[in-house]
Amino acid sequence: MSDAEPIITAELIAEHGLSESEYRQAQDILGRDPNLTELGIFSVMWSEHCSYKSSKKWLKTLPTEAPWVICGPGENAGVVDIGDGQAAIFKMESHNHPSFIEPYQGAATGVGGILRDVFTMGARPIANLNCLRFGEPENSKTRHLVAGVVAGIGGYGNCIGVPTVGGECTFHESYNGNILVNAMTVGLADADRIFYSTAAGAGNPVVYVGSKTGRDGIHGATMASAEFDEAAEEKRPTVQVGDPFTEKLLLEACLELMDTDAIVAIQDMGAAGLTSSSFEMAGKGGMGVELNLDHVPQRETGMTPYEIMLSESQERMLMVLKQGREDEARRIFEKWELDFAVVGHLTESGRMVVTMHGAVAADLPIAPLANASPEYDRPWTAASTPNEIHAADIPVPNGTELPEVSVALEKLLSSPDLASKRWVWDQYDHLVMGRTVQRPGGDAAVVRLPGTDKALALTADCTPRYCAAFPRSGGAQAVAETWRNLTAVGARPLGITDCMNFGSPERPEIMGQFVECIEGMREACLALDYPVVSGNVSFYNETNGAAIQPTPAIGGVGVIDSIDAMATIALKADGNDLVLIGECNGHLGASLYLREIAGISEGAPPPVDLEIERRNGDFVRKQIMEGRFVSCHDVSDGGLLVAIAEMALASATPRGTMLGAHLHLDTDIPLHALAFGEDQGRYIVEIDPVGTEDLLAAAAAKDIPTRRLGRCGSEALTINGEQTISLSVLRRAHEGWLPNYMAG
């Protein structure tokens, strides 16, 4: 030990985020007081971010199995079988706090981290997605944060050459001091060549590859588990700088080594760096490790064991190799100009023994830290049932209904949440690799699988205002919406990854939001045969006691068996029929219409009937696979008329001509509720009129409600023959908001 070894005071313990009882538990495990390095290790291993101590109990309730699931939660990413010997590997992760402090680098390193989670399992990343939440546009920080985050995500993904094909981007005041940056990566691997992180084989070398270790991000993991307050912003802890070029080399080198059989286990060094990667690998295999920190490649001089063990320097990996294969591996990493160092070996001891400069810097049992971290059953309160909003009580502002509908439509399409996010995805290379067959802007992105007619469909969604209004239906809705988006392009949904963004779990009402969102998700996953295969929890998203809206972001992955039978949202041809599949109840509670047009943020969110959801979706998917629809779009945010408008706007040719529709919206529910109600489980399809009767009959045979909406034609939307809404006006409104805002 160095002479400067400080005394472990109560203050130091608190600074490390350990509670008194956790510290006592640590003393019990060691049978003595920890030294500083050991305290640091306990602190990061038992941080909320690494240990899931507040969420574990509830995460366990999520369904994680299906015949096609190869690997569920617990590994670096989830793995599903997509047929023909191939597997899709995917995960989503948050990088919220660093992105608020340094938007470009925070977002960039978020992308870097999730990419490593996926290629560490042997997959070549083939697509990225991202879920972004910003504060209200009027907030003085928002513009700068949007610009930095989007540039950072693009900067990393574009450079490494993985297409960023989808995501979401919305705004709400609850994110003013806590933006959300959730990044998702999807990779492709041979189903029988998946790499795991379970260490095995005493004597096998532990190998460090990638970039050198510096003093960056020390305590990143504890930062991600601490609330923000003004002081934290002042303190401005270190964030990491990403190096996508090195990550690209690391990716190629790892995949090259994975073509051999030299690897026993591999794990990226993410949060809590060398500590968590070594503890987790050893813990899973019940092994011990001897680490010699003198061999760790270091970027700076005079680093202490504490710093080396806790550094979160990016672009690094830890592997266990088979004995005798070191030279072969070294040659590959040297070819790619990366550091390669044998830093230790596995033992049978079950202990982590860390040495440096000939002295023992830490000596800890692995299992209690890795597998038996604290687990809390935090008190939680159930959400109160929100009031039902009746369409008739939401007055149409000026009495005369029709003009109001067109005014409202234009306003909705240019509202921050619904406005086109082209300004965002234009900055993402969404085409590199040459296999993007559906670009951003549709229901799900579609990426072809090389050498086949098959494709993966990918989407990411969440509707936080529903989750805030009633967490249980919000959680179910988020899952259902991704399932619906995959279905709408003709894909068979296979599974989800989640990124649970919430406030402080130490507050019962926040814990309640978490518990009930999970419950809704669980029900939806079960009903839709749509398991959770990976995920991430980000708590403490609050500033000065004000929490974000509960935001369980869901990333969904599905497979399309033949891209010839894929559907897109763009209207195709004059004279085709438009048909709604699913039921209209005109539900306006917690809708965008209510918030943006009536200025009311309340009411129960739309009910999610999972049986109906499944029935309608399975029906639509079958029709798409049989080639019956020429276009299809699910109905979500903004309701029916917004969805139709999106289909018309998507039909724009390079020369700017668009195809509209003649709509018949006559009904017993008030027009504004029919047009903008957000009832779930619905799809709009475009069909050649010769098939319409058959379609209606086939739906009726399954008790699926349908409604003829009208016919494609003209360059406008006309409603009930009385009112014409110019598509070019809508387009300007829809496309204009974000670029205008950013230019402001």
Binding site: P244, F245, D429, V432, R448, R655
Partner: protein, 229 residues
């Protein structure tokens, strides 16, 4: 046609151009690692898109000084066809094989979207399958595609017919509003004097078949296959 694709650390549209060459010519191209100092015999040398060396310092700068570029230069001077796409174009200008430089886009943002190009001439090995004055639709995906040269050079390349492609409207008009990066005279691609070296920012290799929504990039590769067979 035998093609060779040079791979630099950080190349990332190598896959795209390999797929395109394979699809159009029926033959897989040779892959050449940047450290090689020798190039096998080839009818076409391709420098693919990407971020060679991270594009740190300046895009293409470090790759332009790698050993393999000496060989590429010798071949280019001997008349072998050389195609640089995006980062490849940046490398060719940095290496002095093509005139001008590619600066940061006018609005300093990466831009990925479909654009239209006017094919300036169809009497080259790269473009003979296009029609005179044809407008094609292909994507761009770059941060540094803002073509610039001093006025003397500009006059020369315009006068010598070295401009290969220009950004235009779908109808073929030159217009600043459709120029994605601020390039001078809307220049999207240039030839060397002998027109055996072409550099362009857009990605014809990503529009090869209809599943990619458009196949306007295919004739470029067909031209090469036909004239270099």
């Amino acid at each position: 046609m035998k093609a060779a694709v040079v791979i630099f650390p950080g190349s990332n549209r190598d896959v795209d151009v390999i797929d395109a060459l394979t699809a159009v010519s029926g033959k897989e191209p040779l892959l050449i690692w940047h450290r090689n100092t020798e190039l096998p015999k080839a009818d076409l040398i391709v420098l693919p898109g990407g971020f060679s060396y991270g594009d740190y310092l300046r895009s293409g700068a470090m790759a332009a000084r790698s050993p393999i570029l000496k060989e590429v230069t010798v071949r280019a001077q001997a008349g072998v066809a050389v195609l640089g796409i995006c980062n490849g174009f940046q490398i060719l200008t940095e290496a002095g094989l093509l005139p001008g430089v590619l600066m940061a886009n006018r609005d300093l943002k990466f831009v990925c979207r479909n654009i239209h190009l006017k094919v300036e001439r169809t009497d080259t090995v790269f473009t003979e399958r296009y029609a005179e004055g044809q407008v094609i639709r292909v994507p761009v995906a770059h941060h540094d595609g803002n073509y610039f040269s001093d006025s003397e050079t500009l006059t020369r390349i315009e006068g010598e017919g070295q401009v290969a492609f220009r950004y235009c409207t779908p109808e073929g008009h030159l217009d600043d509003s459709v120029n994605p990066n601020g390039s001078i005279n809307g220049i999207a691609g240039v030839y060397n004097e002998n027109r055996n070296v072409l550099g362009l920012m857009p990605h014809p290799e990503d529009h090869i078949d209809e599943s990619q929504s458009c196949a306007d990039g295919r004739p470029l590769f067909e031209s090469l296959v036909e004239s270099l067979a």
